[in-house]
Amino acid sequence: MEKFETFTGPVAALDRANVDTDAIIPKQFLKSIRRTGFGPYLFDEWRYLDHGEPGMDCAARPRNPDFILNLPRYRGAQILLARDNFGCGSSREHAVWALSDYGFRVVIAPSFADIFFNNCFKNGVPPITLPGAVVDRLFREVGAREGYRLTVDLRAQVLVTPEGEAIAFEIDPFRRHCLLEGLDEIGLSLRRAEEIRAYESRRRDETPWLFPERCGG
């Protein structure tokens, strides 16, 4: 995973609560066996007026002029400002892959659904949670000014507004550490392989019925 320390970029504001992962990346694109190439289909049903299928040339497709990512003012947005319960529904990590492939480096919302929230960290896209009132204010500011940019300083745990005001945010220390260092979580866990084996052998004795020779067949 790439390191994430600090990032400054233009903000797009998606003013809907409960945006689900089916909306972020519709199911027909989940047939891909790769992690990349989802960006053109991000929010496909909202973004285009026709029906999207994998492999389509999106440059030629009719766009929904009302959808935020199609507004000229949000072109090139790299920080997504969203509402409550962002990323609810399906566990598909493709949702984060699509956001990231499109160019979003950070998502900010008052709350996230658990699995999506977790998936974000695994892909170097920090999900930043802020109180509802602060998010409301950011929505107003983003709406009022074209080209609104925020700086996300993960080390200092602050967002910096164009006026230079710092807004502190909370983030899980372990997750933050992994992002700052660009750590491979599997590699980290494997450092505890001995502990895992010790646990396993103890459990084999205590609950042998959970350790069949082979489960199926």
């Binding site: 566990s91 998936n119 491979d184 494997l190 895992i196 042998p208």
Partner: protein, 468 residues
């Protein structure tokens, strides 16, 4: 020491290592794998030169992408075929047990886990799928995970997690005749909202939950994720044990006896403290129908489509307006005047044998209403299908004009050819009514199996309590 909740016990039993800040390496006993969320995980594993830690903890099945019509000719959709073949190849490469597409035991991953006895009380079980919560119905800690974590569990047999909070949903009283686990699930979500249980594990308890069959408990836990909870749980009791006895992958002989002695401890202690408690009275519940594009947008069947103007919160009001526009509904419309174009009976929420029996009971000797273009019954597994056929349920459905299909996810998410056309309205026993979920522009009304069957016969929603 204060008593522990069931979740506390399951958690404590699986801690490999815990840091001071609570970051925990949790051991994972079982891992279910399907074709959509696993290929990138296997690829990652290969690229890093790693192997699955314990292949006997794995069971794989293709379900999301498979056709539900005759499978003899394979999968027509080339991209879907590649994905299913990737699962076959990965399983073969690592010696992972797979119920391949034409295996008689194939089915929806969350139906076959408990059906096979692969899911057992007291274990941790994961799957790259949010509805993994289903398996909590037998007292297992079941977690839906993303693809990176699928790879993590493959490689390390563990997950890095922080413990969630405990939420008790206490349902006292008795569900009335014709009111099912699905109605209870929808009512809970209507009550607490789709983010109501975010950061929590829900334990469902109380008289009404104990009275549910294990299948009914699965329906309930299945939808815990729709309330924002990653896991739902029901304590182990006699019913759980009877349900699991003699399942193909359940322990046998002396091992079974030992397991059965251990399992009754899997309940919350009487003095356990929950972070939150929600009380519901089962006696007042009525059959539920969703009217909007989020599972919290539900009303009782004798209610009306709500009016956004009555909503004070501006974000919610706008959400309701958008949902009504999408659904093509006017505020104030009686639910019983809504007419579905299609009916879908299936999905990991409601495709087990008792669901099919409940639906068939309403269909028997009747015909699809003329306005209903298509009605699908998609059993949750090959074994459910066979059982239903042995009981003659397939004939009941077919004689009424329903299509009787092969098992899979089907029109729950429309990744395969089973889907809604734009603007089509569906009475569906699945779990999500999101925009486009069952097909782009499709409009989903979530209901229980009998309610879906009754809507198919009458051509509009009806209160099943008046008709069966």
């Amino acid at each position: 020491m204060a008593g522990r909740t069931l979740y506390d016990k399951l958690w404590d039993d699986h801690v490999v290592h815990a840091d001071a800040d609570g970051t925990t390496l949790l051991y994972i006993d079982r891992h279910l794998v399907h074709e959509v969320t696993s290929p990138q995980a296997f690829e990652g594993l290969r690229l890093a030169g790693r192997r699955p830690w314990r292949t006997d903890s794995l069971l794989a099945v293709p379900d999301h992408n498979v056709p539900t019509t005759d499978r003899a000719g394979g999968i027509a959709d080339a991209i879907a075929r590649v994905q299913v073949e990737a699962l076959d190849t990965n399983c073969a490469a690592y010696g992972i047990t797979e119920f391949a597409m034409c295996d008689p035991r194939q089915g929806i991953v969350h139906v076959i886990g408990p059906e096979q006895g692969f899911t057992l009380p007291g274990m941790t079980i994961v799957c790259g799928d949010s509805h993994t919560s289903t398996h909590g119905a037998v007292g297992a800690l079941a977690l839906g995970i993303g693809t990176s974590d699928v790879e993590h569990v493959l490689a390390t047999q563990s997950l890095v997690l922080k413990k969630s909070r405990n939420l008790l949903v206490q349902v006292e009283g008795t569900l009335g005749h014709g009111v099912t686990a699905k109605d209870l699930a929808l009512a809970v979500i209507g009550e607490i909202g789709t983010a109501g249980a975010t950061g929590h594990t829900i334990e469902f308890a109380g008289e009404a939950v104990r009275a549910l069959s294990v299948e009914g408990r699965m329906t309930l836990c299945n939808m815990a994720i729709e309330a924002g909870a990653r896991s739902g749980l029901v304590a182990v009791d006699e019913r759980t044990i009877e349900y699991l006895r003699d399942r193909p992958l359940a322990p046998k002989g002396a091992l079974w006896d030992r397991a059965v002695r251990a399992w009754p401890a899997l309940h919350s202690d009487p003095d356990a403290v929950f972070d939150r408690v929600v009380h519901l009275d089962a006696g007042v519940l009525r059959p539920q129908v969703s009217w909007g594009t989020s599972p919290e947008m539900v009303v009782a069947v004798d209610g009306r489509v709500p009016d956004p103007q009555a909503e004070e919160d501006p974000v919610r009001r706008e959400g309701m307006r958008r949902a009504l526009r999408y659904m093509g509904l006017e505020p104030g419309t009686p639910i019983t005047e809504i007419r579905p174009d299609k009916v879908f009976i299936g999905s990991c929420t409601n495709s087990r044998i008792e669901d099919l029996r409940a639906a068939a009971a309403l269909v028997r000797g009747r015909r699809l209403a003329p306005g209903v273009r298509r009605a699908l019954v998609v059993p949750g597994s090959g074994l459910v299908k066979r059982q239903a056929e042995a009981e003659g349920l397939d004939r009941v459905f077919r004689d009424a004009g329903f299509e009787w299909r092969e098992p899979g996810c089907s029109m729950c998410l429309g990744m395969n050819p089973d889907r809604l056309e734009p603007g089509e309205r569906c009475a569906s026993t699945s779990n999500r009514n999101f925009e486009g979920r069952q097909g782009p522009g499709g409009r989903t009304h979530l209901v229980g199996p009998a309610m879906a069957a009754a809507a198919a016969i009458h051509g509009h929603f009806v209160d099943v309590r008046e008709f069966d």
